[in-house]
Subunit: 461 residues, 2 copies
């Protein structure tokens, strides 16, 4: 969580993008090596916008930019920069700039910054922190990757529940180290177990003599530090949480997660799902170079060429049939393509249902039945339509019959694969989104070619 910088309050771009003029001014300042002009152009900008700009520059211009602007790079900008180029940026900055930036950051942002670094780089950054911050970061790093313990910040405002509103306000006024932003006071017992919370709104609206225990929220939810961050984000979204206390294995308060961090995680999880479904490496970023991009995508294309070769060998098995009736070669991709599209539809709905936890034990059987019924219905519908087209085109009623039958079988199999493969992966503890289109469409390609050509061989020839 970071505090926004001073921003131009008059005219934020309607679509939150930089204007053409801004970009030209910045590019010119960088190319001219004109530090003061660059500072002037960036002065009104929010840290998040400066970070976006840095991501969008070409690598060569980025180096030049960092050289000119390094004095102004602070903790906010650094924590906004995408992971894909953050290491590169840090390497190009003077050590003092990084050290100063890190000292300004909340513990959760420091953890996010260093968790993927090697031990020597981690140590260099930890050394810049004062002792209590360093201890907080090190404690956070003991929790598993992608856990609530990594996502939380250690700075929490707590009070015993027997305190009055007046005592709490006096305590807050006297306290030096309050976090930049906080939304609740967490009530704790003497052993630091959280027992409830009071919103700041209630605290402000209540008279000084009222006890915290009397204005606590009815509902209260703690999060285990071991909980997966994706589940945490889902809980924030579902239960409209604003912040939630994080507890260790002994139920003791160790930190707090705020909704803005949960929102970022939700955003990243969606991003991963959509990229995985499309067979793009989930770490791919807009700043990637050609080589990095190829490294992300080649593995999926390699899988696809292998599965396409399997389909090709199915076709090869029916070479004689095709040689005798070339119309088969003309029509076979239609059956396969419809199967691929129908499977992608079912697959996407299943993967999303699992990700949003709307596809659950309660309704899984019903959804499987629904998808199979839809597969059969679409198969009959499009099988009939294609039989009609085929008859008009080739005037061969048997060929029409074959293609209709193949369509029904393939769309039914598409539904079966589209729903059962992700459900099976989820049950096996794997990410259902890994069942990218590639795997499922292999099934529909193979089944499509095999049923169509096989039925043709039996019925027509």
């Amino acid at each position: 969580m970071t505090e926004p910088r001073e921003t131009d309050t008059d005219a934020p771009e309607a679509d939150f993008q930089l204007s053409r003029q801004d970009i030209d001014a910045i590019n010119k300042a960088v190319d001219d090596g004109d530090g003061p002009a660059l500072d002037a152009a960036l002065e009104p900008m929010h840290a998040a916008d400066i970070a976006d700009l840095i991501e969008q520059l070409t690598p060569a211009r980025r180096r030049e930019f960092l050289h000119l602007y390094s004095g102004e790079i602070d903790g906010e900008i650094l924590s906004e920069i995408d992971e894909s180029i953050r290491d590169e940026v840090i390497e190009q900055l003077p050590h003092e700039v990084v050290a100063e930036a890190v000292r300004e950051m909340d513990s959760d942002d420091v953890v996010d910054l260093i968790e993927d670094m090697g031990a020597p780089e981690q140590q260099a950054i930890l050394a810049a922190l004062d002792e209590s911050d360093r201890a907080a970061v090190e404690r956070s790093l003991t929790w598993p990757e992608y856990s609530a313990g990594r996502l939380m910040q250690s700075e929490v405002v707590t009070a015993p529940e027997h305190w009055s509103v007046g005592e709490t306000i006096d305590f807050l006024r006297a306290e030096e180290w309050l976090p930049d932003q906080f939304y609740h006071v967490v009530l704790v017992d003497p052993r630091r177990h959280p027992t409830g919370y009071v919103t700041l709104g209630k605290l402000l609206a209540s008279r000084r003599h009222v006890l915290l225990g009397d204005i606590r929220e009815d509902s209260f939810r703690t999060i285990s530090a071991r909980q997966d961050e994706g589940d945490v984000a889902h809980a924030f979204n579902k239960y409209h949480l604003i912040s939630a206390p994080v507890v260790d294995d002994d139920d003791r308060l160790v930190g707090v997660i705020t909704i803005d961090d949960a929102m970022s995680v939700l955003d990243e999880e969606h991003e991963e799902d959509i990229l995985r479904l499309a067979g793009v490496g989930e770490d791919s970023a807009i700043s990637d170079t050609v080589v990095e991009t190829m490294r992300q995508r080649v593995p999926w294309l390699a899988v696809n060429i292998l599965t396409a070769l399997v389909s090709a060998s199915v076709i090869a098995f029916f070479e004689d049939a095709i040689a005798r009736l070339v119309a088969l070669a003309v029509l076979m991709p239609i059956v396969a393509s419809m199967g691929g599209n129908a499977a992608t539809q079912t697959l996407t709905v299943a993967v999303r249902g699992l990700a949003t936890k709307s596809l659950t034990r309660t309704n899984a059987l019903r959804i499987v039945r629904r998808e199979l019924a839809v597969g059969l219905g679409n198969g009959l519908l499009f099988g009939l339509a294609l039989a009609g087209v085929t008859y008009v085109w080739f005037r061969d009623p048997k060929l029409s019959l074959v293609i209709a039958m193949a369509m029904v079988v393939n769309l039914f199999v598409a539904a079966l694969g589209g729903i059962l493969i992700p459900l099976g992966l989820e049950k096996a503890g794997a990410d259902p989104a890994l069942a990218s289109g590639t795997f499922v469409t292999t099934v529909t390609d193979v089944v499509g070619f095999f049923t169509f050509l096989g039925l043709a061989a039996v019925i027509l020839l």
Copy 2:
């Protein structure tokens, strides 16, 4: 924004799902028509969980459930129920239950509930509200659909900036109508133009004589009521906003949007993108029946069968070539399938880049160049690999040459279509995610079949 109900604080299910026992107990109570048992089973559950449960029941059991439980359905549960079944649920509830539920809801939730209803249903619900709430809802409905004006709640806590902390706290203590949750006091001038805001944390931590103007946040961002809700959600995520004041065309404060609503919108926008890319209607829901599901999917499959017929006619054009060399029929789906996969990769990255505003004017040209280079690189790589396989399989060096050339052309065209089609749609003001796989893979199918068979006809025959 809703206040969570009392919840079981001891053991929230680790994965935020209902246990098998809970489900069985609830199903049994519904089947037995046992109202008290149902109340007891649901008593510890959060409104959001009860809403999920209602969504996941079969339509028949849902009717039974609502009959037994209608007395307990309140505003929180009603606003958590997915739009896809909300109308159905409302129809089955007694009018007094709905009226009572609506009276409890914040204005933004009422707007969300009624905005898609017909005029008579809207009037019936508005009539249940008291005059000031009804006026707030009606004002909100004058803003365009999917705008900030529809998303905001009208209840805002404001103060003049010349007030002191003490005056503000006294005002809050005296005020009766404070919103359930609020995070900022918005500073307004005498004409109700927002001029800044103070966080509740700062208010609590400052002495009574301090002026609000002196503890306002540096950065301040207002949102136009006409702004698209997707852009609003993006701004919340990017700038780590917790709440933001909404202004009308005269820059006057009309409401406030809080991050939990922005988070829901972000979630929905992702959902829409992923469903559109897969060619599934964006309104599809897990509770849809077979007929509703088919209605969502048939149009996309219909588009696909038409485009597949175009590909088929390309193949038909080369019937003679295939009749003379059946190997062509065996190999042609590989070239097409690789093109389809590569295009989906590029397309997904482009659509995501546009949605997250990381693909912008600044870097569009560079990304187009990168994608084309990747397309060419992958074309050469997989073209060579496939030429090798083809040689081993068919022992025909010319056929190997033909397939390698076709692969290079098709993967280059896949990259071109995958990046330029979404960029063009965005420029034309359309949703780039509408360039679903279906359209782009048509291009790669047609180009793949045409190049491969065309080159074969020229070089081999």
